[in-house]
């Protein structure tokens, strides 16, 4: 029952973000408790409205029944930020989540889909090194006061409660969409940094040349 109820959370949050974006087209401020309440009510209505025999929110679940906890947290953080202008996941936590998502995705998907004989997915079925690794990473992040540590605490709590359809810990940590988004974010950041370095060195050399010609 808890798994079924939780499956509506991600679709609900997605509809909320979409609603806030639409409101943003007409108003500068998409926040405020009244707007958030109305949008929340509408989003809840949309995800439970039956279409084709089952709730609309479950159509998204037809494609992927296990949206990871970090991706859910990222979307929740965005909804919260839009509503209250408070960032639950700050820049440092956001970057950490992207590094985590990309690393976990690269460690899991190629081999799980058949690259080689080794299957890392097996570590998620019961207590294993994966759990120990997660515990160590979580504690380190908490100690350095990185808020992504709280998301990882939520991952293991969600696993214990059985919030997702999957009984495998990997599915609580990463999903293909989260890995893809993480890759795009990190790739975009790297490209921006390379470009800014290039333009910086270009402007430095231009300045040096200009200085030389002035002499």
């Amino acid at each position: 029952m808890i798994t079924f109820a939780f499956s509506f959370l991600f679709p609900f949050l997605l509809v909320m973000v979409a609603g806030q974006s639409i409101v943003g087209l007409f108003r500068d401020n998409v926040g405020g408790w009244r707007t958030t309440l109305i949008l929340g009510f509408l989003a809840a209505l949309i995800v439970v409205i039956p279409v084709g025999g089952f709730p609309l929110g479950r159509w998204l679940i037809s494609i992927n029944a296990n949206f990871s906890i970090p991706l859910t947290a990222l979307v929740f953080s965005k909804v919260w930020e839009n509503a209250s202008h408070i960032k639950l996941l700050d820049r440092k936590a956001f970057l950490s989540s992207c590094i985590f998502g990309l690393t976990a995705g690269l460690a899991l998907y190629p081999m799980a889909l058949g690259l080689g004989r080794f299957d890392p997915y097996k570590f998620g079925w019961s207590f294993s090194l994966l759990f120990v690794l997660l515990m160590v990473i979580t504690v380190i992040l908490v100690f350095v006061k990185n808020r992504f540590g709280i998301v990882l605490v939520a991952c293991i709590l969600g696993y214990d409660l059985g919030l997702l359809e999957s009984p495998n810990l990997w599915d609580y940590l990463v999903d293909p969409f989260f890995a893809l988004i993480s890759g795009v974010m990190i790739g975009g950041r790297l490209i921006r940094e390379i470009r800014s370095k290039k333009s910086h060195s270009h402007s430095v050399s231009w300045a040096t040349r200009a200085e030389g010609s002035m002499r």
């Binding site: 079924f4 084709g52 025999g53 089952f54 709730p55 479950r58 159509w59 679940i61 037809s62 494609i63 992927n64 029944a65 296990n66 899991l108 998907y109 799980a112 889909l113 058949g114 690259l115 080689g116 004989r117 080794f118 299957d119 997915y121 097996k122 079925w125 019961s126 207590f127 294993s128 759990f131 997660l134 515990m135 979580t138 504690v139 908490v142 100690f143 006061k145 808020r147 540590g149 709280i150 990882l152 605490v153 293991i156 709590l157 696993y159 214990d160 359809e165 999957s166 009984p167 495998n168 810990l169 990997w170 599915d171 990463v174 999903d175 293909p176």
Partner: protein, 389 residues
């Protein structure tokens, strides 16, 4: 985060990890997992040679039927499942079910649909485009299990597995439960061949992945009592893109052999062994038997012999033969030809042995019917003698 929050979160992390660790450690109390190996009746206890044929799917209205499976209930009745529709992979495919009461004079009941895309969608609360392969089997409490394929997007590579249980011999069924077995959108997990029961309950079920890679896997599944949740996990048998649809035969409490359908250019049956109840498997070894990229099935006979039903060709499925191995699958001798008709298809054999010692073979007959062939070991021995002359 202040210092108190750091301490609370750290303690919460340790506490939340303690639960899965405790569950893992408490599992060590149980006895080691081994196969429940049933000793086949000696050939002399099987009576005179016996061989009979009949059709299970007696409804010729269906344009296409495929992938039959069969099992025996405690009262001796046989039940079978398969899928049918206008053609393979269409949205109107459904999983059919029929029963044959014990007794020579009895015949198969009229097939009825137990799963179609509508019922699967409703039970799984999600969109299902079509249904496919299924296997049916009983557990020690005489409950019927049906494991079946559903597809949401794409073709067979988009398959997911689901399970249903019947407590009354197939009259009524529980709702379907989705089995999450793949981290990538839970797609590309399929089932074909017989499960192996485990001592103390549960099964290992040979399954396979068919997407970027094509490789055999093992599904470990337990539970299913009225108020007990089904638990499961998955391990890999081999990697690569060459072997699917494993058929596994237990040769001892922890020893089993798997025979693979070949997807590679070699077009031969491959074999692997396990000595630790399916946890790890040897590298697949090619055998001399041909395989036209088609399903095969094995069964343990008396004196450690293994019976194989297969398409004896590298190109076509127009014949179905039986072969027997006396040395654990290393070498094989052909013993009988069940079908041979150029231009036709006889495929996807599935073998079981009933409590009376008889062997039941079901297979796809020209894609039009599911055929049921019954014989005993005495008949097989007679075929071996005939072949050696």
């Amino acid at each position: 985060m202040d210092r108190r929050a750091v301490i609370i979160l750290s303690l919460a992390t340790l506490l939340f990890h303690a639960w899965p660790m405790w569950r893992y450690l408490s599992a060590f109390d149980h006895e080691p997992v081994t196969f429940a190996v049933f000793s086949p009746l000696a050939p002399e206890d099987n009576g005179p040679p016996h061989m009979a044929e009949e059709f299970i799917s007696n409804d010729p209205g269906l344009a296409m039927v495929h992938v039959g499976s069969i099992c025996e209930m405690a009262d001796g009745s046989l039940v079978a499942s398969w899928y049918g529709g206008t053609r393979e992979g269409t949205r109107d495919t459904a999983i059919y079910f029929a029963v044959r009461a014990p007794g020579e004079s009895m015949s198969w009941s009229r097939p009825r649909v137990i799963v179609n895309r509508g019922s699967a969608s409703k039970e799984l609360h999600r969109f299902v485009k079509k249904v496919g392969n299924s296997i049916i089997f009983t557990d020690s409490e005489d409950r019927l299990w049906l494991i079946y394929v559903t597809i949401t997007v794409g073709g067979w590579s988009g398959s997911s597995l689901n399970v249903k249980i019947s407590h009354d011999g197939g009259t009524t069924w529980t709702g379907s439960q989705r089995l999450t077995l793949s981290p990538f959108l839970n797609v590309s997990e399929l089932v074909r061949n017989n499960p192996l029961p485990m001592k103390g309950g549960g099964f290992i079920i040979p399954i396979y992945h068919e997407c970027a890679g094509k490789f055999p896997e093992i599904l470990w599944i337990w539970g299913g009592q009225r108020d007990q949740r089904i638990t499961f996990r998955k391990t890999r048998m081999a990697g690569g893109r060459s072997f699917i649809q494993p058929s596994v035969v237990a040769c001892g409490s922890g020893v089993a052999r798997a025979f693979y359908r070949s997807c590679s250019g070699d077009r031969v049956v491959a074999m692997a062994t396990t000595g630790d109840t399916g946890a790890t498997w040897s590298e697949p070894q090619n055998l001399e038997l041909p395989n036209p990229d088609s399903a095969l099935n094995v069964l343990l006979l008396s004196e450690g012999r293994i019976l194989l039903a297969f398409n004896d060709s590298k190109q076509t499925r127009n014949n179905l033969r039986l072969a027997i191995s006396h040395d654990g699958g290393a070498t094989w001798g052909r013993v009988a030809e069940i079908e041979n008709s150029p231009g036709q298809e006889f495929s996807y054999p599935y073998l079981i042995r009933s409590l009376d010692g008889r062997i039941h073979l079901v297979y796809t007959w020209r894609r039009k019917r599911i055929k049921h062939v019954v014989f005993n070991e005495t008949w097989i021995n007679a075929q071996i003698e005939k072949a050696s002359k």
